[in-house]
């Protein structure tokens, strides 16, 4: 049977992708950001995941204002990196485990999570940046070392799904994955955040104390984290900090007790606090 081995929380700042794509990760500004992912890349090599279930948000790329699904699951064969206004990232297309994705779609709906099924979809930095930071540089003509099942969550138009809903969706995703018959190692990513506000006069807000507490909660008290209100995210972590609800989907798919194997936190990457955590399911 398929098994979720671990969860990864990770920011997906577009400028991190740009830094990798233009080869400036060694510069003073970027060094501390990437330093914190060295251990993560070694860890990924040891884990050898077959499939990554990647929770992220689309930034009006696959979904503009015409259609705003709260949860959309990628079920197509592959997903091309999108042009977000400055050319597509020079990274490989993302290949799906299509059979498993359709199994998950079916299981989720029967479990009363009525997700949208996407058979055609381009993917933006929200999905490719976490892959890049965790796997390292992979050129366009190469291949990602794992298959990827994308789950898009609406966090652009208020309200995003509640933390509690996300946490419970994580549990449903776990039961879907672990009822799939092939023996596969799966790692689930929850991406986005941490504190940041990109817009209007309060742009640049960072709340490191809050972010660090959230990382603590990820390890020690996920149920507590799942009860954080939208108002608290918006006020304390900036209007775009609400992306952190996506980490709760990842966390819901893990055991209540986990082992934190790595954590990294750095300010700033562009306008954003970069946060990262690796949690292994205890045997």
């Amino acid at each position: 049977m398929a098994k979720i081995m671990a969860g990864v929380g990770c920011s997906h700042v577009p400028a991190i992708g740009v830094a990798m794509d233009t080869g400036i990760t060694h510069e003073e500004y970027w060094k501390p950001v990437f330093e914190g992912f060295k251990i993560s890349r070694e860890w990924m090599k040891k884990q050898k995941p077959d499939v990554i279930f990647l929770v992220y948000n689309d930034h009006c790329t696959a979904f503009d204002a015409r259609c705003i699904p709260t949860f959309a699951l990628g079920c197509g064969a592959e997903f091309q990196p999108a042009d977000e206004g400055w050319g597509p990232r020079p990274v490989p297309a993302v290949k799906n485990h299509q059979k498993m994705a359709s199994h998950i779609a079916q299981s989720l709906v029967l479990n009363e999570f009525d997700i949208t099924i996407m058979n055609e979809m381009e993917v933006d930095h929200g999905l490719t940046v976490p892959l890049s930071v965790m796997f390292g540089d992979i050129k366009k003509d190469g291949e990602w070392p794992a298959l990827v099942i994308p789950l898009c969550v609406n966090v652009v138009q208020y309200p995003a799904p509640t933390g509690n809903r996300c946490y419970n969706l994580g549990k449903a995703i776990r039961s879907a994955i672990e009822s799939y018959e092939e023996d596969l190692n799966v790692i689930i990513f929850g991406t986005g955040g941490m504190s940041h506000q990109l817009q209007y006069k309060r742009a640049g807000l960072i709340n490191s104390d809050w972010d660090k507490r959230f990382l603590d909660l990820m390890t020690e008290d996920p149920v507590g984290a799942s009860q954080i209100t939208h108002l608290e995210y918006l006020r304390e972590t900036g209007s775009e900090g609400i992306e952190m609800v996506m980490w709760l989907i990842m966390r819901g798919a893990l055991n209540e007790n986990v082992t934190e194997v790595h954590r990294h936190y750095h300010v700033p990457a562009s306008n954003t606090a970069v946060g990262h955590i690796i949690l292994e399911n205890n045997a």
Binding site: P14, A15, H59, C60, T61, D64, A65, R66, A82, D83, E84, G85, W86, V156, Q157, Y158, P159, S195, Q197, L198, Q199, Y200, K201, R202, A203, G204, L205, I206, N207, S208, W210, H230, L231, L234, R235, E236, G238, S239, E240, V267, P268, S270, N271, A273
Partner: protein
């Protein structure tokens, strides 16, 4: 309009259903600039390109004048308006430098020093606003 619980957060516009409805054509215009062929057409003749999007006069003016904060007040969302900015060669950080009125260099320096503190930035009363 009924008061919303997030109305008290200073310097912040929450892109909710009301904003989304108001900004629909403005945002659809902005997102069209994701593609090079559309950027080319827009840059060739902004007025003519905008004719295809039935936005309000005020929104149209704000686009032409690149009034970044006004665009948000009129229903624009940052992930959309940032496409207009990108077309002009302005990245997210430089756009934030403009929206905050700090200027690009001061804003960048603030971020390097750990960003804008949450202290004094939770409630409009701390900004001397209602």
């Amino acid at each position: 309009m009924t008061k919303k619980e997030y109305d008290k957060i200073p310097g912040t516009i929450i892109f909710d259903a009301d904003k989304s409805r108001e900004g629909y054509h403005l945002n659809q215009f902005c997102i069209s600039l994701r593609l090079q062929k559309n950027r080319d057409a827009f840059n060739k003749n902004e007025e003519a390109y905008l004719d295809a999007y039935p936005m309000s006069k005020e929104q149209r003016e704000a686009v032409l004048k690149r009034e970044w904060n006004l665009l948000l007040e009129l229903g624009g969302n940052i992930y959309y308006t940032s496409k207009l900015a990108a077309n002009d060669g302005i990245n997210f950080q430089n756009l934030a430098g403009r929206m905050t009125g700090m200027g690009v260099d001061t804003y960048r320096e603030m971020m390097l020093q750990g960003g804008r503190s949450i202290e004094g930035n939770r409630d409009k009363s701390e900004w001397g606003e209602d």
